[in-house]
């Protein structure tokens, strides 16, 4: 009986370790995705989106809320 419980206990420790390791590596890969991609296919909309981000809209305004 005791052996069974100890086995379950170790299994749970392994599960916790896997969960932590997965989260750690998942975070790293998310950061990599944000700052670069190994895929060299760039669509027209990707280019347009980056160009849009480069400029300021001439009608852009700062919103601080309405008085009334």
């Amino acid at each position: 009986m005791n052996k069974k419980i100890i086995s379950i206990f170790f299994l749970l420790i392994i599960f916790a370790s896997i969960a932590l390791a997965y989260n750690y590596f998942n975070q790293n890969s998310t950061d990599e995705k944000q700052y670069g991609s190994s895929d060299k296919t760039v669509t027209d909309s990707d280019v347009a989106s980056q160009i849009d981000d480069t400029f300021i809209g001439e009608d852009s305004e700062i919103e601080i809320g309405e008085m009334v």
Binding site: L12, A16, V42, Q50, F55, I56, E58, I62, E66
Partner: protein
């Protein structure tokens, strides 16, 4: 003995679940604190140079002045209707003092982002205070009528026109600099599009379309190279903004003149 095992198992399960929950919360949440909303984060992306800082602070100045004008018009209307406006006038006085701070803020300061965020938050707070006080004085129907009246009065006033002109000139200079940089990247010596944009004869959208067309007609490799350069600069701006916000979190968000 069994109780100890059960407790240990429970503890391990708790650690596993909480680690997953923590990471999920971190993915979804705002990393930078409640003082900077998504809109502000976007706005400060261009503040990595003094021109960008000047644009954002001037836009804030205009927004604040616009609300002060609306507030003054509102007080005039309310006085005409025999309301007590002492509290509203006191908020307006604070807003005017804040406007002076925005006007004198140093756009070349290393802390211009922090100053901007702090002044913007104060502007939003005072605006909210004014609006909430108004809600205590008038019902929804009267407020709607007042909104229409204030809008008409504001349209008739030309006090904001000067700001609009200054802001558009600064934005065009900023965008012009970006156009020179991008045309330099794509290797096009022809800057007639830039001059036409700066003169106001070519709209920004047309200019952007011309650039996209040039880049999209390139070879796959060259297109990727240019795309990476543009994206790289945008990411650098994003990182600068995030660093500024994190720096603000470390040192508080007080503002001052530098």
């Amino acid at each position: 003995m069994r109780k100890i095992y059960s407790l240990l198992i429970g503890l391990v399960l708790l650690i596993s679940i909480s680690s997953i929950v923590l990471v999920k919360a971190d993915d979804n949440g705002n990393h930078y604190g409640k003082d900077v909303d998504n809109e502000t984060e976007k706005e400060i992306k261009i503040m990595n140079n003094s021109l960008g800082a000047e644009i954002r602070l001037l836009q804030l100045e205009k927004a604040l002045l616009k609300n002060i004008l609306k507030g003054e018009m509102t007080v005039q209307v309310l006085i005409g209707l025999n309301f007590t406006t002492t509290e509203l006038e006191s908020i307006l006085t604070e807003m005017k003092a804040l406007l002076e701070e925005v006007k004198t803020a140093n756009t070349s300061s290393n802390e211009s982002v922090q100053i901007f965020v702090s002044l913007k938050n104060e502007s939003k707070n005072l605006t909210t205070q004014f609006r909430e006080t108004m809600r205590g004085l008038l019902n929804d129907t009267s407020l709607s009528e007042l909104r229409v009246r204030i809008k008409e009065m504001l349209n008739a006033s030309d006090q904001l026109e000067n700001y609009n002109k200054r802001i558009i000139n600064l934005i065009r200079t900023f965008n012009g600099n970006q156009l020179y940089r991008l045309y330099g990247l794509v290797g096009e010596a022809n800057s007639s599009f830039v001059n036409e944009y700066l003169n106001g004869t070519l709209p920004l959208n047309e200019t952007k379309l011309q650039l996209c067309k040039i880049i999209n007609e390139m070879t796959k490799e060259k297109k990727y190279e240019i795309f990476s350069e543009i994206k790289g600069e945008n990411i650098r701006r994003q990182i600068h903004a995030q660093n500024e916000i994190e720096h603000m979190g470390d040192h508080g968000n007080g503002h001052g003149k530098h």
